[in-house]
Point group: C2
Chain length 136, copies 2
DNA sequence: TATTGTTATACTCTATAACTATA
DNA sequence: TATAGTTATAGAGTATAACAATA
C-alpha cells in the first residue's frame, strides 16, 4: 500500500517497526511469550545479579511495569528470585527458563535472518548502525 | 544504556522507533495532535475523495479505530465530511485544518531533519530504502 | 454479496503517583 | 536521601465481532 508519506524517514521507521514487531509477536506467541518477556530472558542469561529495576532500565521498561511482566515469567516457572539483600533480589533463569531461552533463540535467529534478507544487500550493513545512532 | 541485545536488527529497530516516536509525540502534543492524527491531515491534503476506510487502509489503521480518530479531528474543526453517495463520505481538510497542517509541516520537517542528522552521514542514504523494504 | 460506517469491547503497552521498606 | 519493589490507575494503541444501511 503506497502512500505519499513513505519518503519521510520517521514514517518509514514507524511502519517498518510496526510490521516487524507484529511479525515477531506472532512468532513468539507460538512459544507463549511476548516480545518484552523474550527480551528479559535473553538479557538475564548473561548475568546472575540483575534486579528488576536494573533490567527495566536496560530495556527501557518502567519498573512499575516490570512487576506484572516478571510475575508472568515466574508463574510460568521461567525465572527465580534470589535475595541480594533485604531490599533487592536478583532475577535469574530457572532450568525451565534456560530451556525456554533455547526456543527463543531459535525463533529470534530465524526472525532476524528473515528481516535482514528483506533489506537489499547494498543497504544491509548500514541498517543496525543507523538505528543504534537514533537511541544510543 | 548499552546492552547485549543492541546487535540484533529487530531489537535496534524497536528501540529506535520507540525513541523517535516518543520524540515526535512530544513535539506534536505542542500543537494538540497525535501522530496518527497528523498523518491523516498530511494524507488527505493530496486528495479530496478519500473515505475513512480508504485512509485506514493506507495508514494501516482499522476502520473501527478511524471512528474516534476522525471524531476528534472533527470536534477540533480540522476536517469536514462530504457525502459521496448515501453510504460513503469524503474526509477533507477544513480551512482550520489547512492552517493546522502548516503547523504540522513545520514540526515534522524539523523532526525529520533532526532524525536524519543523528545518523552518521555514510549510512544516511541507506536508511529509508532499508525501512521501506521491510513493509512495502 | 461486498463494503461503509459504526458501536461495543477487550487486550496490550506505556506512564504517573504514591506507598513501604531498606540501602 | 535515594533506591527497590509494589499497587493502583489511566491513557494510548490495537484488535475482533457484530450490526444496519447501501453499493
Amino acid at each position: 500500500m503506497q502512500d505519499p508519506l513513505s519518503k519521510l524517514p520517521g514514517y518509514a521507521l514507524r511502519r517498518a517497526a510496526n510490521a516487524m514487531m507484529a511479525d515477531l509477536s506472532a512468532r513468539l506467541a507460538a512459544i507463549d511469550l511476548r516480545i518484552a518477556e523474550a527480551s528479559v530472558l535473553m538479557l538475564i542469561e548473561t548475568r546472575y545479579d540483575m534486579t528488576s529495576s536494573e533490567i527495566g532500565r536496560m530495556l527501557d521498561i518502567h519498573r512499575a511495569n516490570m512487576v506484572p511482566l516478571l510475575g508472568r515469567l515466574e508463574i510460568a516457572g521461567l525465572i527465580e528470585r534470589l535475595p541480594i539483600d533485604r531490599k533487592s533480589q536478583a532475577i535469574i533463569l530457572s532450568s525451565a527458563g534456560l530451556e525456554k531461552l533455547a526456543e527463543v533463540m531459535i525463533v529470534t535467529t530465524k526472525f532476524e535472518k528473515d528481516l535482514l534478507e528483506r533489506i537489499p544487500v547494498e543497504h544491509r550493513e548500514h541498517f543496525v548502525p543507523s538505528l543504534n545512532a537514533l537511541w544510543h
